[in-house]
């Protein structure tokens, strides 16, 4: 059982490190764009409220970015340390895409981050705004390359296989593979959704505690507009992504639906709840709605969705896991849309900042975007199994079989250090959020040079 254990430990290690990692870039992507908007509004209107918000969220951004960088460093090396078979087989695809990510995104972010965080008094406002824009651009470019690489592993094309190695023949086809556009938009929008609920929950917390400065109100208002728009867009994008997955990875959809076999010509039902049993090959205790599966996934009432039993047993993903992670993601998405429309209704009634029930709900929804992202990634990554490169290479052939002792040691170290360090980091982030943005005072004269030092209260 040596191999089984080593493979399992390698998979747990990868899932653990990337799950922690993905939280930080998701917030980074959203906050970077938020900061661009805030600084732009400040430059245009010269209203102090925007600058106060910028300085406030910049601190959160900096802590979050630091954690993203160091946890990302691990990812760049883990392909080699733990997945030598994969690197050997597909390094000629993943390596160049990752290299482009470093060249066009990481350097851009790192190069301008220093100016963005420390450079306000060293460069003019125009250059400083340029630095903010460059950092935000870097986060989007980074998403582009990493999603291209991941999507290629999901829907590979543009290659030949010679002597057990992937040879790229058409880079355009490699990058713009069939699932790439959907994944890219889905993930980017997810980052915006997650950030807007994080920001909204922060302001809801302050409002509930009686902190009703213009900054706090502005934060909630901007975040709820963003939440409404991005959550609604996400519903459409998610639907299109689902259709795309059905076309290219039908086994994944079948596992997500807990759908084992089609009966005659009947349209496929939608199983709302149930417990897929991979051994017994059926979904227990299911609550289903007839034909709705066909309607959602094929946009018709008569076409059938492929079922799990249509695929060999050793080429099916773990249905129990993806069935539930998918429902967590979709369920949270539904609540997000609800929150968005609720805010719209309260705006109309002019009670957005006063409705306690709404504010409490929004506060609880704070981590919802991040949970949805994690659940979504589990759905798509576990759903791809047993393949690491869909249809081309199985995960068990990709792993480096280190001694189980080493793998356990390194996994243990990762778990302990990540929980310790990132736990503390998230605590610091929440501490900053708890202090809230600088209070807006109309009476103080505008003093651009003291903007950073005047609020030097936490160190």
């Amino acid at each position: 059982m040596y191999d089984e254990y080593a493979l399992m430990l390698a998979r747990i290690q990868f899932a653990f490190t990337i799950s922690f990692h993905i939280i930080f870039p998701a917030i980074t992507i959203g906050l970077a764009s938020y900061l661009v908007i805030l600084e732009g509004m400040w430059l245009k209107s010269k209203k102090q409220v925007y600058l106060n918000l910028y300085d406030f969220w910049l601190k959160v951004f900096a802590v979050n970015f630091g954690m993203g960088v160091v946890s990302g460093l691990v990812m760049a090396y883990q392909f080699g340390t733990n997945w030598a078979g994969f690197s050997n087989f597909a390094g000629s695809i993943t390596g160049p895409l990752l290299t482009y990510e470093v060249l066009t995104a990481f350097f851009l972010e790192a190069g301008f981050l220093g100016v963005m965080i420390y450079g306000r008094q060293k460069v003019g406002p125009g250059l400083h705004y340029f630095a903010t824009i460059m950092v935000a651009t870097g986060t989007i470019i980074s998403t582009f390359w990493i999603l291209a690489s991941n999507s290629w592993m999901q829907t590979p094309q543009g290659i030949e296989i010679v002597n057990g190695q992937v040879i790229p023949v058409d880079w355009f086809a490699v990058i713009f593979n069939p699932s790439f556009p959907y994944r890219l938009v889905h993930m980017t929008v997810a980052a915006f959704v997650a950030t807007s609920f994080f920001v909204a929950a922060s302001s809801a917390w302050h409002l509930l505690r009686g902190n009703r400065t213009p900054e706090v109100k502005k934060m909630l208002s901007m975040a709820m507009w963003m939440a409404l728009i991005s959550a609604c867009v996400q519903v459409v994008v998610g639907d299109l992504h689902g259709l795309n997955t059905l076309k290219h990875q039908p086994a994944k959809i079948a596992a997500m639906e807990g759908h084992w076999e089609n009966i005659g010509d009947e349209p496929t039902p939608l199983i709302l709840f149930g417990i897929p049993d991979n051994e017994a090959e059926r979904t227990k205790y299911k609550v289903e709605i007839p034909a709705l599966g066909s309607l959602i996934l094929t946009h018709s009432l008569d076409k059938q969705v492929p079922a799990l039993k249509d695929f060999p047993k050793d080429e099916r993903a773990n249905s129990l896991v993806v069935f539930w992670t998918f429902r967590i993601m979709a369920g949270l998405g539904f609540l997000m849309v609800l929150a968005g429309f609720w805010s719209l209704w309260l705006r109309k009634k002019n009670t957005l900042f006063d409705n306690k029930l709404f504010l409490r709900f929004i506060f609880l929804m704070g981590p919802s975007g991040l949970i949805a992202i994690l659940a979504g990634w589990f759905t798509t990554e576990v759903g791809r199994q047993p393949w690491i490169v869909y249809g081309l290479m199985k995960t068990k052939d990709a792993v480096t079989l280190h001694p189980v002792g080493h793998m356990s040691l390194s996994l243990g170290l990762f778990v302990v250090s990540y929980f310790l360090l990132f736990g503390i980091g998230i605590y610091y982030m929440l501490q900053i959020v708890r202090k809230g943005p600088n209070q807006h005072s109309e009476h103080l004269p505008f003093q651009p040079h003291n903007l950073f030092s005047s609020q030097d209260e936490e160190h």
């Binding site: 910049l58 690197s87 390596g95 060249l103 450079g119 023949v169 280190h402 990132f422 936490e458 160190h459």
Partner: protein, 339 residues
Amino acid sequence: MNYGGIDFTLVWLAIILFGLAMYVIMDGFDLGIGILFPFFKHKEDKDVMMNTVAPVWDGNETWMVLGGAALMGVFPVAYSVILSALYLPLIFMLLALIFRGVAFEFRFKADESHTKYWDASFFFGSLIATFFQGVVLGAIIEGMPVVDRQFAGSSFDWVAPFPLFSGLGLVVAYALLGATWLLIKTEGALEAQIRRYSYVLTALFLLTILIISIWTPLAHDTIASRWFSAPNFYFLMPIPFIVALVGMLLLYTIKIRHSHYPFFMVLILMLLGFVGLLISLWPNIIPYDVTFWEAAAPIESQVFMLIGTLLILPVILMYTGWSYYVFRGKVRPGEGGYH
């Protein structure tokens, strides 16, 4: 891999070596600052030291990510063999870099009473990361057996005198780089203290170079025959003399209190060491079984990456230089932070 008269693999080798040199120099001095941390007692001094690199360390470390990515893209065989052979030292290095990296932000966010923990995290992180980088380098010089494009040695091969010593050697080298960087960025009593350390570190560094230069050819016949056979010997003979000369210049420039020259002298010494290493290992990427060409990725990957790299790398160097320019000059207590 020759294609249209151009050896792309060779071009790539040059780019990766350039990236590696950039990494060693730039992350070298900021890791060095971490190594020197416990030798400074006052919190203000530590703040200044950290603030000399806070705006740039992230960019410095990006060269390491580039190294990993480009190695995977251009030399996938070397990437998978070397990284799986050196699994434990690399994992330790990555974990240490995490502890050190978060300290930059956390140290200024923590309660005053907790600062010491982040000081420790910064010091041990820098020390351990540097040590294991040296171990990795030493283990590569030692060579690793490869069968069927896979590592065929044991996972503790790196626990040997030479890799462990080269780990210590790199600690000394980075500490000296860090110290001479601080000579540029600090003033007053802090600068005087660093100058005193710089003498000691220079002596230790020259001693390390001497030991490694004797040890390497003694332990590796291939390297010995490379250096001590005619006509190589005559071409290579000046190198030790140049090292000695630059070493003396280094001590002299520290003595006359020049702010920038000592740092550049250390850079020259490290580049010489780098060249020496390249001469010793040529043409192997995994000593002594796999050459650069044997480990290379398909030409399609190399060309695709090269187009972008040649266009983008100069731009990166430009804005990196600009960022260093924005934060030029001495860092004084109480400034440089946004915290």
